[in-house]
Symmetry: D3
Subunit: 278 residues, 6 copies
């Protein structure tokens, strides 16, 4: 089963248990229909609309969910951005779960857009990380793209990233680590290696790394790395990256910068569901 | 299967897929053992240690995870707070998923502690809401308690909360809504009703509500509600509640205040896993 | 996934395995359609119709299942009460599983109706317990309500019930047990405490219990408890309760009586499915 | 996953939800250990002990459950029949689910034993049917064997049973139905055919049926069928079979009698779990 | 859930993970529709069409899959045999998984047809075994029937097959083994016993075996067994059976021959999916 | 849950259903222990031993499975290669499922070894494809590596492979297709594009493809492609590749050749489990 469906099922089950929504059972007749509007209550970048819709269609396959804008749209302020037509019970039961997702995906997209805007026009691409809320990897990665930033590897399977602990397992030998990774990895997977000292960079290049991750280096060191790499390998900066620092990094000329904050520290956006007809 | 296990499995599967951790497969020998330290890198309130441990024992049942402090402990700054002994592969594969959980649960507990501290010594209890990350309801609620705040209902099944839309379904008749809820609800479940105007309060009391939720009311109105209720019903304040407002609400004498921010806007704490032996 | 669906899937899988219905595969053409009538073959109270229908729609989403009466209806004797239109194979494959559910839910509703009738007009509410067939908690609780009786807590999560073993864990201190329960429990959950001696009742009241369960007490003791409680706490009688005793308990004036027999000893009703067109 | 485990998980989940046992969480310390005795409180035939134990080991793999007697043992009255050593929390959380199973399986075994006793010494074998509680097919069938009766087919896959509706699908042609069933069915599966009139019996024999089911026939008709069959086919009696009628059927000389009541109308036995050490 | 659906879900998940088809996401617009033809590129017997279709309807319930021939049809060479109309994304995502199934089921049916053809007109039935690809038991068994051969037991549950290791557990006593099997097995399940020496055959007959399996015996020994059995028991030959040997075994007059190769060594047929409209 | 465990569970469930192994239940005492030897009965390359072991530990966590050689070992002929110590029931129940896996994984590894041997000493790497048995992707890929060949992408998520149908979606514009793929794909994923005419090769190089797949081209055309590519892009040959052709392709100097036959047409190896102690 689809991962988003599994997360939604988990969310609905933790909210409903086997006993269900006792308030709605007691007060809302089974046959009653309703329509609700989705409201953005502050400026935001839209993301996660399919998952939002999926909450309602899991509960009632015939529920109709429509958004006036697609993921990636920039909503400038308080506005109706979508609607849900379904049984009144479905609206009430699904509301919280659907909003719990949408307010987070929009939060990520909105922050990613700020980061992408900060390097606009440059060669630098802003990447996310794997620091996502458990179960929300795919939704978070989509939201990052909706905001205009790019994705680092999705998981542990679609990219080799050799960190210090992996390197230690082969006695710190950069070239041997790269050789083994190349021999084992599927054909279309690139090899990235994290370095903590500039002295490792020439070896990484000689060993055939596709990308080198510069861990926690200051701007001067990064600039020196760019000079050494001379286009023979792609460079990624990671650690202590703020929105303010992005333009400087763009100018220095690294290829990628990754920011954990995009997915672990995005603020929930203010969105609501208002029932307008019943 | 346990909900936390299901969330962990979902998180591990989205990170590993069927292909697994290609870097670790390529570079780390299967038999190698390791030990890692869990570091808090800023002051925080600890929560989620069992789930953190569970990530590693799902991957390797014999993995040993120990924390020097229990959930609820206040860590004053940079410190080793736990350790994991397992196969080196297990450490590397589980690291990100385990930290993705712990940094969020500690974030919630830390924020909850600030809220609880703000009303210390008063009768007022600070409650969370259902605005939790999908799949993390239980972990979030536990973290709130670890921080010293209290739990509102867990889900839609362990409390009746009559909101405007439910009320509308019985033509706005507060007493009829309360009567139907009482007739339907399991024996040990309380009935709470949300009101938007003070005029509804006497009716809610007469109808036998256990708790009345005052939606988006200012301090003066809340004080008036306390006067009217006169102890015949419990009162909860919700909407526009900040840490700064808490002491005033405590003084006014409401019973509960609920804050969505505790679970939807807590910042991820800075924690890391450092491999120290292999 | 919905709990009723999970139970139905389990029931269908144990009946079909991976090999399926060999008789039907051998003899019934895949395209053949059919219509069947649901017969009540004795007087009964209807319950479980949605789950009955669900068995057929799990097998064939377009199957049409209709009942002429809703759950809670009292069927006075041999009568057609519903129909199923579906592929002939669906009818034959689903028949036994659907009836296995319906004959049990109707059995529970019918017994619950007898109990509810016995206290009609009084203040006393007859409650079920958690002594339900594994996997049938929700279906059993619904059937109890269909019969006109009420639900005790659904599970271990929507009510605190302090029994002797819990009490022992705090050294038998009734007030301390109540205090801890109140501090831990979600906001809208009531606290009930079981007592075996009348001496514990005043303490339970002083400690703020919402409900007190009188375990295995005779009518005279129950009457004394009612006198002591004096409306300050609700009282529930449990243990050795028969249909015959119910009117006496109603007269004595307790609030609740709980009967395990409603769900663990209800007789299966006689129902059948007759294929009438093919 | 094993079917019994799936049923137990379903039962535990409906009882615990994501919120868990709030009473036990509030009052019982996590580390506390306990021991409980399993009591039979009336005479019964034991069955379902493995499933009973499994409830506790699902919750706590190291829980130790022992029974002094094996399934099939006849317990003559009030007695301790087993014990459970586990965390006190495990005992309290698992108690109801474990007893909900055991009281039903013992009920079935006890009733099956009465039926088996009624035909003791004769050639007649008493069979169960597929009229089992959803999800409890395997546990019910085992309980029937524990009581000394035998199993009809387990599900729709391990035996061909041609009923009137199947027969109608081939125009009522008994021999054609048998021919098709033989051609389709796996090699080691027998073919049984239900007849409602004695005239069908010779055809069933000629068509090579392995077993013929005599549906709702009185003793005289059954005796005539035995005479006609003359050992060329096995005969099964079904419908309106009571414990009282069994000895007569044994004397008439049919091979099998099937009784739905064994699994759908067995009374729950009175069993309890008493915590004796903590 | 249906076993074929579970296998398809597993296959789709291992191919898609949580990240999905990155190529299709990048290049194929979400709304684009397409139509594809299913091509047989060599002569084959068709089987597995329902499972093939199911792959696409799992991805998109409204996908339309049609085959011009039913399972069992003999396709004489290069030909269009079916079509799929769906979203272009669905076609591209499902293609490989659907073909991975179909090329294997057709391979089995094609080999089974060769075996069935080799004994055409005789009494001998060619059976499959349990040597199927994990998860493909049902699909393999159906394919064997589509090819015109027959099914041995489906699994361990729909037939008793006493092998040497089972026999050893009762001290090698053939009659005792048969007696215990009969007492335990469900009513409609036959008993087969494997023998390695002709001396065991009379005992097997006397003990009431339904079928005797002659393990790894040459034609002369098999002929002698047929003479001894004299129709009192059915005989199955197993081990070292080739297509070439089948006509001789048919002439010798055994009832069954089982061939593991039908399911474990069938070659994948050459089939493809060609997108013809978009 | 782990994909291999899910496949094993599916395989065990289709073999056992809810009814289980009736033969073993009837004849083998529950407490009996046994030991079995795993026999290779022909020369083969070992693969899949962990999955083989997992079948038994799923049934009985304490089962002990040992192999004298690791995956990748070349077994030169009839030999004991491993052992299983477990309950006798576990051995009998798990035998077929465990062998059904091992005989297939060893078959793939053995064929892969022949292909790898054919290009030994050259720069050419032999790759598998996604033409694996449903549910066995991971096991098949591991077996290919055990045989000494390499893995193409694991699924649709760890590599971009632009085929004609994807290209058609952007009007056949190779550079635009590559541009979009690069923009969308995760950072560490390479882009491969399939071409059917040599004229497309310069465009693919100019567009920045990482790998170009030469579809169904003869040796002369492949050689011309190598000349054009001149090391600026990696080349893969696919279609009509036999073991015989491999040395020629190695000499021509392409980088990769992919062979569907490695996983879809490998013959099952002859392996057995012999119980030697009980």
């Amino acid at each position: 089963m689809d991962f988003v469906d599994r997360l939604i099922d988990l969310a609905l089950e933790e909210d409903l248990g086997a006993a269900g929504d006792v308030t709605t059972q007691a007060l809302v007749p089974e046959g009653a229909r309703g329509r609700a509007e989705v409201w953005a209550k502050e400026p935001l970048v839209l993301a996660g609309t399919r998952a939002f819709a999926r909450v309602f269609t899991r509960l009632e396959p015939a529920a109709e969910v429509r958004f006036s804008e697609a993921d990636g749209a920039r909503i400038s302020g308080r506005a109706v951005i979508g609607s849900v037509a379904a049984a009144l019970r479905t609206l009430l039961v699904g509301e919280r779960t659907a909003l719990n997702i949408l307010q987070r995906t929009c939060g990520i997209a909105t922050l990613a857009a700020r980061a992408a805007d900060a390097v606009k026009g440059s060669h630098l691409r802003v990447l996310d990380t794997r620091k996502t809320s458990p179960g929300m990897r795919g939704l978070s990665k989509e939201a990052v793209r909706a905001g205009g930033a790019s994705n680092h590897r999705f998981g542990l399977f679609d990219g080799v990233l050799i960190k210090d602990n992996h390197l230690a397992a082969v006695g710190g030998d950069v070239r041997e680590a790269l050789r083994r990774a190349r021999a084992h990895a599927p054909q279309l997977v690139k090899i990235e290696i994290e370095i903590t000292r500039l002295e490792q960079l020439p070896e990484a290049i000689a060993g055939g790394a596709d990308v080198v991750l510069l861990d926690n280096m200051d701007d001067a060191t990064v600039a020196e790395a760019v000079r050494i790499a001379a286009g023979k390998v792609q460079l990624e900066v990671s650690g202590n990256v703020t929105l303010e620092r992005l333009p400087r990094l763009a100018q220095i000329g690294v290829d990628f910068v990754s920011m954990g904050a995009l997915t672990h520290s995005a603020r929930a956006m203010d969105l609501s569901l208002e029932i307008v007809e019943r």
